[in-house]
C-alpha cells in the first residue's frame, strides 16, 4: 500500500503526461511529426535526431482526481480527504503513464524519387494504465459492514502495462500536389507485459434472515485473469540471493530490447490532403499491430464460486465433514498458473486534423522561406481530434490550435484541448531553428503549471534535431 502511494507520488512528481501529442501532431517543421502521421506534409530534405535526445515524451494523467485532492496542505485530515476522493472516483477513472525516449531517429529524401522521404529509428516506450478498482478500494478502505447486499465487482479490476522497444522504418510520398501519403512499418520487442482485463464475477455479503447464519458471503462466477510475459524469469532471478542478480536482470532486459523479447509487428498509416492552397486535411492510424507473447509467459487465473456462512458446530448433528475455510476456498476457486501463448493488440491511436493556413510571407526577400519552396504561411488555425483504444473504453480528445511562425528562428503552436482529464487544457510548443540545429519544447495544461498538484495531468516533450 505504501509502495503504491509512493509510486503514485513519483509518477506525479515526474511532471509529465499522454499519448495524445496535440502540439506535435502535424507540426511539420519537426521530423517528429512523422511519428504521429507518417503522411505529414514535410518540407525538409534530411534530418538526424541527436541520439537519446531527439525526443523525450512523458505523460501522466489521473482522471477524476488530482494530487491536491488528497495531499492538500489545508489542515484537514488526510483520511477525510481520501474518503472524499474515494467517493468521487468511479471505476471509469484511471491513472495513465506514458513515456517515450527516442534512441535514434533519422530520415532523408530519396535521390531517385524526389517526392519520397524515408525515415527510421528506434524508440523505447513505457505505457501503463490502471483503472480505479473502486469496489475493492471501498472494500479495503471501509470494509463490507456498510455494504451488505451490495456486490463488489471483479470487473472493476482492469490494468495493463508494457515496456517495449520499437524499431521502425517509414515511407512518405507526395503522390501529387494535393496528396501526401505515408506508412511506417514497426517491429516491436516487448521487454515486459502484464494485463488484467475483462474480469467478471462478484463478491457479496448477503443478509439471510431465514438462512443457517446471519449472512452468506458469496463469490459468484469469479473469473479473474492476469497475463504476464517477461515477468517469470525476472522473478526467478530476483529470488536468487546471488549478488549478480542486478546485472543479470539488466543483461536480460538489454537482450530483450535488442529483438530478444516477445516480438510483434505493426504499422502506422497517414495522409495529408490539400483541399486547396490553404486548407489541409490530415488523418493517421498509429500502432495498428499485434505482439505475440510466446516466451516467458505466465498467466494466473482464478475461477469459481464459493459460499461461506460460518463454521457449523457441532458438526456431528448435520453429518458434515470438518471445515477448513482456506482449503475449501482454494478448492472452490483454484488459482491456476498457465503458460499458454497469447496475442494482444497494441493500443491503437487515431489522429485527424483540419488546418487553415493564412498570412503568406511575401516581402520579396525570402527571409522566412526555404529555397525552392513557396513562401510559407505564417499563421494557421485548425482543429484536431484524437482517439486511443484502452482496455475498458477508448479515450478521446479534441483540440483547437493556432500555429504561428514568428520567424525563421522561432515557430510556435498553441492548443486548447478538451479531453478526459479536463475542459481547459492549454498547451504550447516552441521550436527553434538556428541554422540546422533544432530544439523544441512542448507542454500542456499551462493553467495548472504553476501548481501541478491541481492538474489532472501534464505532458512535456522536448528534443534536439539536425534538420536540413
Amino acid at each position: 500500500m505504501r509502495a503504491v502511494i509512493y509510486l503514485s507520488i513519483f509518477l506525479w512528481g515526474s511532471c509529465v503526461y499522454s499519448q495524445n501529442k496535440e502540439t506535435l501532431y502535424d507540426f511539420t517543421d519537426l521530423p517528429q511529426s512523422l511519428m504521429s502521421n507518417p503522411g505529414a506534409d514535410i518540407k525538409f530534405k534530411r534530418h538526424l535526431g541527436v541520439p537519446f535526445l531527439s525526443q523525450f515524451h512523458t505523460n501522466v494523467g489521473l482522471r477524476g482526481a488530482t494530487l491536491f485532492d488528497v495531499f492538500a496542505d489545508d489542515g484537514r485530515s488526510i483520511n477525510e480527504k481520501i474518503e472524499t476522493t474515494l467517493n468521487k472516483l468511479t471505476s471509469n477513472d484511471y491513472l495513465t503513464l506514458t513515456q517515450q525516449l527516442e534512441v535514434v531517429n533519422f530520415g532523408w529524401k530519396s535521390k531517385k524519387h524526389r517526392d519520397v522521404y524515408f525515415s527510421g529509428g528506434v524508440y523505447q516506450e513505457l505505457d501503463l494504465i490502471g483503472y480505479f478498482p473502486k469496489d475493492f478500494a471501498v472494500l479495503a478502505y471501509q470494509g463490507n459492514r456498510d455494504f451488505i447486499n451490495q456486490p463488489f465487482r471483479f470487473s472493476n479490476i482492469s490494468a495493463s502495462g508494457e515496456l517495449l522497444m520499437v524499431y521502425h522504418f517509414g515511407y512518405n510520398k507526395k503522390v501529387n500536389k494535393k496528396l501526401t501519403f505515408g506508412a511506417r512499418a514497426k517491429l516491436y520487442s516487448s521487454l515486459f507485459h502484464a494485463r488484467t482485463a475483462r474480469n467478471s464475477g462478484t463478491f457479496t455479503t448477503v443478509e439471510t434472515p431465514q438462512g443457517n447464519n446471519i449472512y452468506q458471503h458469496i463469490v459468484s462466477n469469479a473469473n479473474v485473469t492476469l497475463r504476464t510475459a517477461g515477468y517469470a524469469s525476472l522473478r526467478d532471478i530476483a529470488d536468487n540471493t546471488d549478488a549478480q542478480q542486478g546485472k543479470e536482470i539488466v543483461n536480460k532486459l538489454i537482450g530483450r530490447a535488442l529483438l530478444g523479447g516477445n516480438l510483434g509487428v505493426g504499422v502506422d498509416i497517414g495522409v495529408t490532403h490539400k483541399i486547396n492552397e490553404q486548407l489541409n486535411l490530415t488523418g493517421s492510424v498509429n500502432d495498428l499491430g499485434v505482439i505475440f507473447y510466446t516466451n516467458d509467459v505466465e498467466t494466473y487465473r482464478a475461477r469459481g464460486n464459493y459460499v461461506f456462512e460460518g463454521f457449523e458446530t457441532p458438526i456431528q448433528f448435520s453429518g458434515a465433514e470438518s471445515q477448513d475455510f482456506l482449503d475449501e476456498l482454494e478448492e472452490a476457486i483454484p488459482l491456476d498458473t498457465l503458460s499458454t501463448s497469447y496475442i494482444t493488440m497494441r493500443p491503437l491511436k487515431l489522429n485527424g486534423s483540419l488546418r487553415y493556413s493564412f498570412n503568406q510571407y511575401d516581402d520579396g526577400t525570402c527571409y522566412n522561406c526555404i529555397e525552392g519552396e513557396d513562401p510559407p504561411y505564417l499563421d494557421a488555425l485548425g482543429v484536431q481530434v484524437f482517439m486511443q483504444f484502452r482496455p475498458k473504453r477508448p479515450q478521446y480528445a479534441a483540440s483547437l490550435f493556432y500555429y504561428k511562425r514568428l520567424s525563421k528562428f522561432l515557430r510556435t503552436k498553441v492548443t486548447y484541448t478538451v479531453d478526459d482529464y479536463s475542459y481547459y487544457n492549454v498547451g504550447f510548443l516552441l521550436s527553434t531553428h538556428i541554422d540546422k540545429i533544432n530544439f523544441y519544447i512542448s507542454a500542456n495544461n499551462l493553467f495548472d503549471y504553476t501548481n501541478l498538484a491541481k492538474a489532472n495531468g501534464a505532458t512535456v516533450q522536448l528534443g534536439f534535431n539536425i534538420i536540413m
Binding site: M1, F71, A72, R145, Y215, G310, F311, E312, F325, S407
Partner: protein, 192 residues
C-alpha cells in the same frame, strides 16, 4: 529587426523558464504517514441447529430424566491467526443470537486452542434463555462479546475453536429447536 529578435529570444526564455519553474505546491506529502485504514468487516462466525431428537432418543421413557447432556466440538478457526490481523486488529465484536423453543436454558461455552492443543486466552460463556415449547415464538437471546486488542494478541496463535453446549434435566418429552447464529465484526486499524 534587432528589437523583434530580442522579443523572440525573451519570449523563448520566458516559456522555457515557465516549464522549468513548474512546481507542485500547497501540498504536503508527509501526510502519507498519517494515513490510517479503518475498515470494518462483518464475517459469519459459528452456527448450529439443535433439535431435541438429535441428543435425546425419542423412544426413551419420558419418565427418565437425564441430569445433564453436554455436546463438545472442536473446529478449525484461523481467522485470527495471521500476523497482519493480530498486528492491525483493533477489536472484534462477536455477536451471538440464540433462538430457542425448547423449555430449557442452554449454557454455551467456547474458547481457543493453539496448534499444540493447549487452551489459550479466556473462555467465554453465554446462557441461552429457555423457550416456550414447540410451535411458539422462539425466545431470542442476544449477546455481544468484545475481544479487545490485548485479548487478540493472546489469541494470535489460536487455530482451533472448542465449544460446548450444556443442558440439564432433559427427557424424551422435551421438544423444540435451539438455533445459534453469530457473526464477528472485525475493526481493523492499519497505519501505513
Amino acid at each position: 529587426m534587432m528589437k523583434t529578435k530580442k522579443f523572440y529570444v525573451m519570449l523563448y526564455i520566458f516559456c522555457v523558464a515557465l516549464i522549468s519553474g513548474s512546481c507542485v505546491k500547497d501540498v504536503d506529502f508527509d501526510q502519507v504517514e498519517d494515513v490510517v485504514l479503518t475498515p470494518v468487516f462483518e464475517v459469519d462466525f459459528i452456527f448450529s441447529r439443535f433439535d431435541t431428537s438429535q441428543f435425546i432418543d425419542p423412544d426413551l421413557d419420558p419418565s427418565i430424566i437425564i441430569p445433564e447432556v453436554v455436546v463438545n466440538d472442536t473446529l478449525n478457526y484461523d481467522l485470527l491467526g495471521t500476523d497482519f490481523v493480530v498486528d492491525n486488529l483493533d477489536r472484534v465484536e462477536l455477536t451471538f443470537e440464540f433462538r430457542n423453543t425448547i423449555q430449557r436454558s442452554f449454557d454455551f461455552d467456547f474458547g481457543f486452542l493453539n496448534s499444540g492443543g493447549q487452551r489459550i486466552g479466556p473462555s467465554f460463556s453465554i446462557t441461552a434463555e429457555s423457550g416456550n415449547g414447540p410451535g411458539t415464538e422462539p425466545v431470542v437471546t442476544t449477546e455481544i462479546i468484545v475481544l479487545d486488542n490485548a485479548t487478540i494478541n493472546v489469541l494470535g496463535d489460536a487455530n482451533r475453536l472448542v465449544s460446548s453446549i450444556r443442558v440439564q434435566n432433559v427427557n424424551s418429552g422435551l421438544l423444540g429447536v435451539l438455533e445459534l447464529r453469530s457473526k464477528g465484526t472485525y475493526f481493523i486499524n492499519y497505519e501505513l
